[in-house]
Amino acid sequence: MDLKEAIGRFVQNGDTVAIGGCGRNRSPMALIREVIRQNKRDLHIVGREKGMDFDMLIGANCVRKVSFAMVSLEEFGLAMNFRRKIEKREVEVDEHACYSIISALRAAKMGIPFLPIGGMFESDVLKVNKNMKEINCPFTGQHLVAVKAIKPDVALIHAHGADRYGNIITVGPPFEDVLMAQAAERTIVTVEEILSSEEIRKNPYLTTIPYIYVTALVHKPEGAWPTSCDVFYDSDDEHIKLYAQATKTEEGFKEYLDKYCFEKEE
């Protein structure tokens, strides 16, 4: 399957979309660009500590709501589209802590409506977020926070290798990639390499996401560019710097999108 078919068939307008990777590492950037090229709308995007992937989708007007613990370009500065659209109140904010995002996804994976966690008390994040409520444990009375499940319609993930059945190997940090695949109704994965079924069967302990969770597989070398992909390549910091510069204005971002997304063949 190619990018066009995977996104065209499995991402619908209005979907809740979980996006793998962390910071500028192993974001499914080729999939992100295809979502933008296909002009998907009203998405609810979900991730823990995100960067350019979230910022591009928001800037390209694909996003209705954003669930996050942090969105930034690290040392290259604020994620400007994220900043602008929220300041103009064009995107709904669902601000979390890392652990509450994880818990919302864990609840979805388990098929339950919420998960109780500790921490969060007395933070204004808890006060403003309607998807968290203070509760008491029915057994011990312990004061806890119930975090409402976030059920992704689709998870977008980039990984290292897979056989053609979609048994995925991720070399390196798991981030939330596995959890997202387990929590989502559908999962689209791009990989650097296609392996033989024999190779997978020889080392089953290397499979991080078995095929049962995978809806679509796309062979897409450098599918995480300009973010990093462990043993294959590091993040393209010069490009991320260029992106940070370009997104200082909306016009700059439009030019960036034309050049690096709409005119890019992949």
Partner: protein
Amino acid sequence: MVSIAELMITCMAREIADGDMVLQGLYSPMPMIACLLAKNFHAPNMVYFNTADTIDPEPDFVPFSTAGPKLEERAVAYIPLSDVFDLAQRKKIDLIFLGAAQIDRYGNTNLSVIGDYKKPKVRLPGGAATAHLCAIIPTIIWIPNHNRRVFVEKLDFITGQGYLKGGQERKIKGLDGGPKKVITNLCVLNFDEETKKMRIESIHPGVELKEVIENTGFDLIIPENLKVTKLPTERELKFIEKIDPHKVRNIEFTKR
């Protein structure tokens, strides 16, 4: 000549005790180097967790992204951050280093918005693990730009829980952990045991007390015997230079 980054890194490293379980987050260049420094010097038995999801990596040099693949080198295991947060919830993590866009006298921090939450003047990146962990484990806050826009009388939003309104409020509200120190480019700060108001612990060499006062938007407690921050040793400096040949440590001070 010791740079301010090197001094702040050594201050952070000295807060790590041998055997501590310590977490370093995303966009945390100085804490990353501080963890490696501590582990190679006074805290060989500390456990070093990081946002590249690894335990005890031994990179030959540090990456710019503090979740970058370099932090996987010679690690003993991968551990998803979700598991580290599970440990924190069980009070098994001893320390995390956190940043702040604004901080008040009780160590409450803001990483969310400047202005009204619903119609912010500036939407900031968000606190990452802050709102969860500040309620349950000890934290060290580092601030590379000690000035009145950061050290404010009143926060626009409390992302990270410090000592709330001071005194025993944090305890009464049932929170554990809390901010131990604030390490800035001018000084090291701690909190008065009774009032929980911020107090100067030591001032960095070459910094005047006046400078600290003028750059803080509230009154600090000034101890009678004002100490000067201990400089890194030659060996520590050599280690920092070796582990950080690309000067990742300076990225919070100078644009890349």
